[in-house]
Symmetry: none
DNA sequence: TCAGATATTATGAGCTGGTACTAAAAGCAG
DNA sequence: CTGCTTTTAGTACCAGCTCATAATATCTGA
C-alpha cells in the first residue's frame, strides 16, 4: 500500500509535536521532507490544530496545572482535625503518581501524606519532622482512595510521638511513626 | 495634568491583563473605551508584548513547569550508580519546596530523594519499598544543594537493606535505612 | 498496460492579530 | 494663539495559518 508512508509520517508527526509543540507547518515540512500542504492535510486528518491554537491550549491548561501543583503541596485533603490528638486526611492516587514499571504508587506519596498530616495535628506554629519509621504493607495502585489517620501517642516537652495509619478500603496499606519537634518557643531545637 | 488619565489607564490595563491575559488589543480598546492605537502605544510604553507572545510565554512556562513535575518524579539527578552497591544523586532545594511557616524544606523531598535513589540502586526490574527508617538531623533551607549517597549494606534473597545519607555542604542533614523488596522473580506476575 | 483511485504539491484569496511608520486631530496650559 | 502632549487614524507589511481549486505524482487492480 502507498499509504504506509503516510501512516508512518502521521505517527512521526504526532511524535514530533509531542516533543516540541511549538513547530510551524513550515518547520514540520522541512523535518519530514514533504511540502507544507501535506503537513496541513496531515494535521487536518489527525485533528491537530494549528500552532497558535496549540500554544493557546497549552497556556490555558497551564493555569489549571499550576493549581494542581499547589494542591499537591498539601498532599491530601484534611477532613478532620483535633489538635494534639488526631487528624484524618484523604488522598486519591492518580495515574501520574505510580511507577511506570510496576503500576504501584510511589512510596513517597504515602510518606508525604503521613508526614503532612502528622505535622498538621501538632498544635505548633513551627514544627519539623525529626524521625520517621515507615512500613509499606500492601502495594497501592492508581485509583485508590487513601485515608490516613494520625494519632498523637505521646508528648514529651517539645517532642510529639505520632502514629499514622493509611488505609485503602479498610485495608491497612501503610503505617508510620514520627517524632515531630516543635520549634514554637524561644527554645532552640537540637537534633 | 492630562497624563493622569493615561497613568490610570496604564494601571487598569496591567490589571486587566493580569486577570485575563488572553485579550486582543481590540477587546482591550473596547473595555477601556479608547482606540486600538492607544492600547498599542500603552503596551509599548509598559513593555507588554502582543497577545500571541504572551500566550506563547505562558505555554512555554507551562511546559517547563510540567517538566519540573516530571523531574520531581525522578526526585534528584542520578550522577553515579553501581548496581547493587552504591548510588549518588543530587537535588537542589527550590523556594517552592519549603514550608511557608518556617522556610524549612518539606521533609518528604528528602524522603523521596532517598527512596528514589534506594530503588534505583537495586538491580531489579520491579522493586518496592518495604520499610523505611528516617532521621532528619539538620533543617534544610531553599538554595541547598543536597547530595545523597545510597549503599546496599546487606542482601537477603529478595530483600535489600540500603542506607542513604544526604549531605548539604558536607554536613549530614538526613539519614535513612530502607528495606527494598524485589519483585523480579519469574514465579511472580508477568505480562 | 492503462484507467482510476489515492497521495502529494502548487497556487491564490482571505483571515487574525499584530508591528512600524506617518500624519492628523484633540486637549490643555501658559 | 502657540506649543506641547495625547489620542486617533491610516497605510504597508508580516507570520501563520484556513479554505478552495487544480495540477501532478504514485500506486493499484483488472
Amino acid at each position: 500500500m502507498n499509504s504506509t508512508r503516510k501512516l508512518i509520517r502521521h505517527e512521526r508527526l504526532q511524535h514530533i509535536l509531542h516533543d516540541n509543540p511549538f513547530m510551524t507547518d513550515e518547520q514540520l515540512a522541512k523535518t519530514l521532507k514533504v511540502s507544507v500542504q501535506t503537513i496541513r492535510l496531515d494535521r487536518v486528518a489527525l485533528g491537530i490544530p494549528e500552532l497558535r491554537e496549540r500554544t493557546r491550549d497549552m497556556a490555558e491548561g497551564a493555569q489549571s496545572k499550576l493549581r494542581a501543583i499547589d494542591k499537591k503541596d498539601i498532599v491530601g485533603e484534611l477532613i478532620d482535625l483535633e489538635l494534639n490528638k488526631v487528624g484524618i486526611s484523604t488522598l486519591k492516587i492518580t495515574p501520574d503518581m505510580v511507577l511506570e514499571k510496576t503500576g504501584v504508587a510511589r512510596g513517597h506519596y504515602m510518606f508525604a501524606m503521613a508526614d503532612t498530616l502528622a505535622l498538621a495535628v501538632v498544635d505548633a506554629q513551627k514544627a519539623l519532622t525529626g524521625v520517621g519509621n515507615v512500613k509499606y504493607k500492601v502495594p497501592v495502585y492508581a485509583g485508590a482512595n487513601l485515608v490516613a489517620k494520625a494519632e498523637v501517642t505521646r508528648r514529651r516537652n517539645d517532642k510529639y510521638f505520632i502514629c499514622v495509619k493509611i488505609k485503602n478500603n479498610n485495608e491497612e496499606v501503610f503505617r508510620a511513626k514520627f517524632i515531630i519537634v516543635s520549634l514554637d518557643d524561644e527554645r532552640k531545637q537540637e537534633e
